[in-house]
Amino acid sequence: MAASTTPAPSALLQRLGRWITNLFATALGLLWSLPVLWALVASFRPPHDPMSRGDVWFGGFVTMENYVRAWSLAPFGQYYINTIVIVVMILAVQLVTIVLAGFAFANYEFFGKRWIFFFVLLQMMIPTSALLAPNFATIRWMGLFDTRLAIAIPYFGSAFGTFLMRQAFLEVPRDLVDAGVIDGCNWRQLIRHVYLPPAIPSLIAFGLSSATWHWNEFLWPLIITNSDASRPLTAGLVRFTQLGEIGAQWSLLSAATLMVAAPLFIVFLIFQRRFIQSFLHSGLK
């Protein structure tokens, strides 16, 4: 809002406005968190304490039983390691491919540019069910069946990431690019010094997006691997979500879900600060 020369009543109104905004944001945030808050409480609820009208939060007592049990029903330790390896592997390669490709699309004109771009975008538009059998055959042909690399490799090229990077790089002011060119930068230096720095928030956004997507991917890893040595967390989680004969075990499922999602929560909390660099409505630089 405006600087300090405003008269007092308007400042009061501003403070009231901020207070109301905070209240609104808090209420909305709480509402949005309700499902997970409930799951958190349910995960500590004794497993055979049924939910009923007026009794959906804490049960007779609080117990860690669900977590202990969930952990014991699948090799979660191994799954954690596998998932981290897979997600890091994918992200590492993707960061390279999307920056290079995004840069090419943003910085150059070349023949067939638009066609190639739409070709790459296809990857976002194809449903997984159409991919299962053909990619299974390709992976077998490559001799990679039942490996973590097999889970990761179809994603090394990322249409979404390329799209996002092209977007972010296009936001960089032309004069900056031209200045860099005039200074004699080659393309690697252009990327490093001109394009990348303002694109960091987008890279982080992409990283979070890619990490959460692949952390939670279920069908492809299940199809392309058979052994626990290469399977990710979702292979463990599915033991709690497909209980067709009996229906959901809310407490157990909540515990398993939170176990699977917790690392991502933590990663997000660490990285979310990086989103906010300098911009504020205060008009200060």
């Binding site: 007026g54 070349f110 159409a130 977007q167 979702t234 008009g283």
Partner: protein
Amino acid sequence: MSASSLRKKRSGLPYLLILPTAGFVALFTAWPVLLSFYQSFFLQRLNIARFRDPTFIGFGNYVDLFSDPYFLQVIENTLTYILGTVPISIMLGFLFSLLVNRKVRGVGFFRLAFFHPMVLPMVSAATIWLFFFTPDYGLFNTALRALGYTGAQNWTGNPDLAILSVIIVAIWKNAGYYMIFYLAGLQNLPTDVYEAAALDGANGWQTLWKITFPLLRRTTVFITIIAFIDAFRTVDHIFVLTSGGPSRSSTVLLFELWLERFEYQDIGASAAITVIFIVVLLAFTVTNFITSERKEA
């Protein structure tokens, strides 16, 4: 983007830079797309012995699909789902980004509160919502009754409400995701425009609608495309919440595709639906793209 500042490259450098990405896409996406395209012209059903080997039928699969009233209902459901999910998720994403783009103590937890649904596996999230939608004591209904709602509560069993239930879960899951991209976009807004506006005495609303939102146009176009594609591609929650029902009222295109491929074992029909799927998404993306880029120039 003036042509003079884009470097016309006669060397192969841009192609080399794109090669890794295009290579992986070609191997793991283009090839399956071609295969689906090819298969869509054949009659092939794995669960009838005499239809196991494909027979060429030209556009037969497409004709059958579009003359089937069920498929038309699926298209209608899909449109409802898209219209219900995409605009609201994007607007909420924008609202959230404004709320958390402030210097307030503990804003990190606000960001977590809005973003965290994205982090949960969809199957788990949908199962939790399954509880929330339970008539009578499910928390969604409890909250609604607390706000004075006295209407129907059978969210997943009522044919008029079932599609709403899956829309609600999709919005809840995705709004925080779009918030992230708006936040990233907000970071790169030029501060000098805001200084000028402040000096001119613009208030918060005017700043928002006349400056911030227009400056975020490219981000909004990007998010719209992503949201549209996401709405088509995510159906895990439908499996959990409604199984596409009741009476198919919540069966959308991708769900129908799954049914054709894995329940009815109809390779030809599922390939045709895959092609339709891709064509729709491609058409939307390309159109959006071209119109937005034209506005730039």
